[in-house]
Symmetry: C2
Subunit: 510 residues, 2 copies
């Protein structure tokens, strides 16, 4: 938009900026699957921002935000764009602030041990640099190849080893934030009194721009121990997880797959992503389309006791890590618990295999979109006593519109996260043009039903993907009376509402 | 005050209330040691409230607060009055709200396991009732005999087993609060997005009245393991504690006493509280007075390497608890760490003795006040890398005014709390009347110097006693830019400022 372009040229000469079409298209989206549907339907450019800027220091960010505040320009902080909930959905009057050029280590304290690192540091290099010094952050989100330290904090991320190391909010000791007025503030984890840090962790760019975080580190584990058990039903498996966590065991990884997810996990590993990418829709794709038109039938079959037995039951993978003999000791305690719950030991292999291919699952999505269908994930959480109700309600709600499978990969002493994967397509045969629109309608219906079901079953609408714009319509229902406080806090940090406007807006509807 | 009395009589007939002198004197104070000095000097009645009320339900509290809101009446929530920082310091125009008649179990879920309990439940009976059902809350503050579940949450309390079970903020899954406008709100621990629960935990009665809390429970431990090690210096001991927590060990109890505190811990146990209470100041008391007049000399002697050796060095007590063989396994890991740090194993006895007498330390304070001196405690915290600086700075600051000893009893992977005990008296001989005033002057000087030193050394001014009014003068220095947010949050929850006015006010000065 010319207005933004002129203002940028006039005022931001000191900053690296771009208003080129290529950059604006690149920064038009995150990895929200509905974007993929829109792009497949040919709607590439709806959400292009007005400009992209690359600050390199807190001073840059402060100066930028002050300018934006004075000139009523909207800003959207941007890490590496791996979000899946439309936390980034810019419009033509918005400036996207890419933080990846802020990736310095500000302070590293081995006796802490902790690291103060700028917000734009990419995940894998960060972990690798720490490993070389004998440490780990312990944070391994599936997005680690395409996400930043600041993005983790902003979205309240969880990694694959959350059982031992916690979610990102358990790792953040302090952070630096430039508020919506351009004021840099430093927030510490406090030992007493009201705590402010938890307001910013998970704020998804709506309170200001996170410029650095101080993370707790851990000694790099010298030993790991692996095990897997199959269970007659998913519920038998999660009762074993519950028992482990309530008796004080803290497996770095504990992943429970429902029968169909377990069957896929056993199969799909060895495939190279390159072979399946960009495949033209052939016979398999057409069969998938047909199957996904009647998801209810397929779901009923696969999730029946009969289907479960056919596929070999649910599967729990467990990995402990630490020093010396400790992980082996813990595996023995876990084994006693699992066998008491009816688990059958399946050896070390499945868990070792999982670790080897831990980041490859995302590559499986492209062929499904290429076939004309869609796939998405939804992670919800509840206390243990509400887990069964939540599991059944969301699976049923999604299952009317899509094919559903689930795994449980983040457990706590008091509750657990359920991670649903679902795939669907247009409900009826149409021509190619309206196929995409019919797909979008199924997609929207599935989400609407699932969010409603999650809230009604007493669950949360998100666990570690954030809420973004995709889940915001149910935020008010989840927050209840806390809503007013959240909105007031927003006004304190960002009085003009220039920070990622429209995101995390707890408005009922859609 | 007649105004309050008339209003109470006119409007609160439906509620149990009192305006009698006896009740107003009883509720005039908490256990802030400076109160004891004032009372000893004959100033009993300065802080009497106008009235005391006893609600029995959330509905009562809601109705009460709405009335107070409409009539601009100030309220001070009251648990069992065990606070030591003047979180309760009423004035004649204040109504104290004693919550002890709200002590029902609202909901108990064994598979959680969790308990929703009203705010006025006393500590010991709560733990005992849970134990009979096979559970523990895991929260054992020294005040457990005279504190309530709601008070723990309001003051952000820590118990003696925080190493394993965490502080109270780690136990609270949800809470019910009646805000300063009389609106009951229910706040849940959230999995995503900004978290509001941490604003209320530690709010010390300034945001509303906590009426119930849902706590995470744990299976009652079937086994315990004990050990103690002596170390050449306190720092050797805390390096061992740091190593334990950073390698993933979570002793329920790990208490490190500096040489003098260790010597006292070894001696004082067997004394019955009755024998030492209410003793008239005799020869021992006069000697104590003389010694405390020159605290610098005594501190220098005792805290020198020579003094440390004379007293047998620092002492670390460790207790693991859990199921079956696990605690013994952990003790072996701890032993390897302690011996690597130069610790000498002292057997199970010291830790077992400590457990037996775990709540008796508070009884030692009365004879010191009776002798004409004073004693108080100050708990600060810092990250491990700042611990040495904080320890030295606060010990030095206090040591110019009082005799100081310290122990470390709450450790974490990233830092530790230091718990100073200090005793002092008037700096010069005076007659009995001005003795008390001279005592107060020494007391105030010691606190002023210690709080300043703690903030300057990068520590917190509190860890689990709260800030109350006694530490509030340094809150602004500790909070920095977060101050504005705290004040805004206060205005949202309590727009008329009627909730515990004057408490936790982050104003620099004194």
């Amino acid at each position: 938009m010319p207005g933004i372009e002129r203002a940028i040229e006039k005022d931001l000469g000191w900053l690296r900026t771009s208003v080129t079409e290529a950059d604006r298209v690149t920064y038009a989206r995150d990895l929200w699957p509905r974007h993929h549907l829109a792009v497949r339907a040919g709607h590439v450019a709806i959400h292009k921002p007005g400009a992209v800027v690359w600050p390199t220091s807190t001073e840059d960010v402060t100066r930028l935000v002050r300018w934006a505040y004075e000139n009523d320009v909207k800003l959207v902080p941007f890490g590496a764009g791996s979000g899946v909930c439309a936390g980034v959905l810019p419009t033509h009057d918005v400036v996207v602030v890419d933080l990846k050029r802020m990736d310095r280590w500000r302070s590293f304290e081995p006796t802490g041990p902790w690291l103060d690192v700028e917000a734009g540091h990419m995940g894998v290099p960060l972990e690798e640099k720490l490993n070389r010094r004998g440490y780990t952050l312990g944070h391994f989100p599936s997005s680690i190849l395409c996400s930043t330290s600041g993005g983790w904090v902003a979205a309240r991320s969880a990694g694959q080893c959350s059982g031992q190391y916690g979610k990102i909010e358990d790792m953040v000791l302090a952070l630096e934030l430039v508020t919506g007025t351009g004021e840099p503030v430093s927030l510490q984890r406090r030992a007493h009194g009201p705590s402010l840090l938890p307001l910013v962790v998970g704020s998804e760019g709506t309170l200001g721009i996170i410029t650095s975080s101080t993370f707790r580190l851990h000694p790099y584990p010298s030993a790991r121990a692996f095990a897997a058990w199959s269970f007659p039903t998913t519920e038998h498996g999660w009762e074993a997880m519950r028992e482990m966590f309530q008796l004080g065991l803290r497996p770095a990884v504990s992943r429970l797959y429902d029968p169909f997810d377990a069957m896929l996990a056993k199969q799909g590993k060895a495939k190279s992503p390159k072979k399946t990418e960009r495949k033209a829709p052939g016979l398999g794709a057409l069969a998938l389309r047909q199957m996904l038109k009647r998801p209810g039938f397929v779901n009923d079959l696969l999730h029946s006791d009969f289907g479960g037995k056919l596929m070999g039951g649910a599967m729990l993978l467990v990995i402990f890590e630490g020093q010396d003999e400790t992980p082996q000791t813990h595996i023995r305690s876990a084994r006693a618990i699992c066998e008491r719950m009816g688990g059958v030991y399946e050896g070390e292999g499945p868990a070792q295999n999982w670790l080897k291919h831990r980041y490859s699952v995302s590559y499986r999505q492209a062929p499904i979109f290429a076939s004309g269908a869609f796939v998405d994930t939804m992670e919800v959480a509840a206390r243990w006593s509400q887990l069964r109700g939540l599991y059944d309600a969301v699976r049923k709600a999604l299952g009317e519109h899509a094919f559903v499978m689930a795994h449980l990969s983040h457990a706590y002493p008091d509750g657990c996260c359920i991670y649903f994967s679902f795939a669907g397509s247009a409900a009826t045969d149409t021509n190619d043009r309206s196929w995409d629109e019919a797909c979008e309608r199924t997609y929207d219906r599935a989400w609407r039903a699932a969010l409603k079901a999650a809230v009604e079953a007493g669950g949360t609408i998100a666990h570690h993907h954030g809420a973004g714009r995709s889940k915001a319509p149910r935020l008010a229902a989840e927050l209840g009376a806390g809503l007013g406080v959240i909105e007031t806090v927003k006004r304190v940090f960002d009085p003009k509402g220039i920070m990622n406007p429209g995101n995390l807006r707890p408005i009922e509807g859609r």
